[in-house]
């Protein structure tokens, strides 16, 4: 099953990549692979923005707007103006 691919916020700065391969390890949707000691995105649309890759990138080469993904929390945060949280 796949979700909305066009709105995914994941980005990789290959210049900064040090080739440690952590992003490829942690991604549960196999977005990254390692080629020639550099990470590349092979399935960016599968990203669920969990933020694991960003959190484990020692070079700060990955950006993604990660966060809580459930509708209820996001609707509530939209209404109350507070940060989304599972409760």
């Amino acid at each position: 099953m796949r979700y909305l691919e066009s709105v995914v916020t994941l980005n990789l700065d290959t210049e900064k990549c040090v080739g440690c391969g952590r992003c490829a390890d942690v991604c549960p949707h196999r977005v990254f692979t390692m080629t020639d000691r550099k990470a590349t995105m092979v399935d960016r649309g599968a990203c669920m923005e969990c933020g694991a890759c960003r959190k484990n990138c020692p070079a700060g080469a990955i950006t993604v707007e990660a966060g809580v993904g459930c509708a209820y929390a996001l609707i509530r945060s939209r209404i109350t103006g507070k940060e989304a949280c599972c409760g």
């Binding site: 099953m1 796949r2 979700y3 909305l4 709105v7 995914v8 916020t9 952590r22 390890d25 942690v26 991604c27 549960p28 949707h29 196999r30 599968a46 990203c47 669920m48 923005e49 969990c50 933020g51 694991a52 959190k55 484990n56 020692p58 707007e65 990660a66 966060g67 809580v68 993904g69 459930c70 509708a71 209820y72 929390a73 996001l74 609707i75 939209r78 989304a84 949280c85 599972c86």
Partner: protein, 342 residues
Amino acid sequence: MVLIPRQGVAAFSPATITLPDAPRYLTTSISLHDRLEHLLVRFGWRRRQYRTEPALYRIGSATAESPVIVTANYKLTLDKVRGACAGLDLWILVLDTHGINVWCAAGKGTFGTDEIARMAKESRLADIVKHRRLIVPQLGASGVSAHRVKELTGFTVVYGPVRITDLRAFLAAGMQASDAMRRVHFDLADRIAVTPMELVLSWQLFLAALAAGLLLWASRASTLGAAIVPFIGAIIMGTVIVPLSLPLFPFRPFVLKGLAGGLLWAFAMIAFFPGDILTVARHLTLLPPVTAYLVFNFTGSTAFTSPSGVKAEIRWFTWPLLIWFVAGVGLFFAELVRGWLL
């Protein structure tokens, strides 16, 4: 719900027993009582209290060379972990995630870098094992920064497989996870495991549906069954039927999957309880938005939806759904009034 396991076979090694807070044994057998609790907790029974004491636990006859795996203190999680460790000798470092599973706790950060560092220190892990490796579940990675753990504790994080049932193969392969072990699925079994909670969490909605149905019936607008069944069914459709058969519904946005399910249900009700144009219109306007909203909420239980996608759906569908629903409420009251007048 504190679990203090005492059953073990081998004795503590003298080196370990002299430690002030000697690691405790954890059995790998899952009792019938555990299984019953697992079933109940899936339906929300004492879910918040279903936790284990955070500590370092010993499995089998773990030694200073044995691997260390990290997990959460949700007892359902720990039971799955220890159940998968039968016959293995290892250490389990249970973090304090306030009784929340690894994935959700990692999202909140309670299964995270600082908590690993704290528990490693508190359990004196560095004195108990000689190696410097921690096997952290892959789905905990969104809360854990491997390079920060290394800085804080001296331990190197090795990300283990997504599913604990692959642990044995992972260890046998020299702590290497295959691509399949690293991939998260959200198949029927996963969906069956999470839907009971959706049902339980919508109890207020069931009460509202019942009240609405009884009102209709009391106003003599329809028979008891024809009044109640459409409402109750729309909720079950949104919390159970569509979530379970998610891939069968077309469109990627969850709101559209829900609308498809809701319309399907509305048409079934129109066919099953023939009514006049007002009733037909009420079914078509009141039921689909309710089902759509519930299915949309299921994004919080899946393992593939992104927050950006959910935000996009909120932008696209909030007003159309709201207008659709308000029209349904209007027709509902029109039917009530007509029932009273006639």
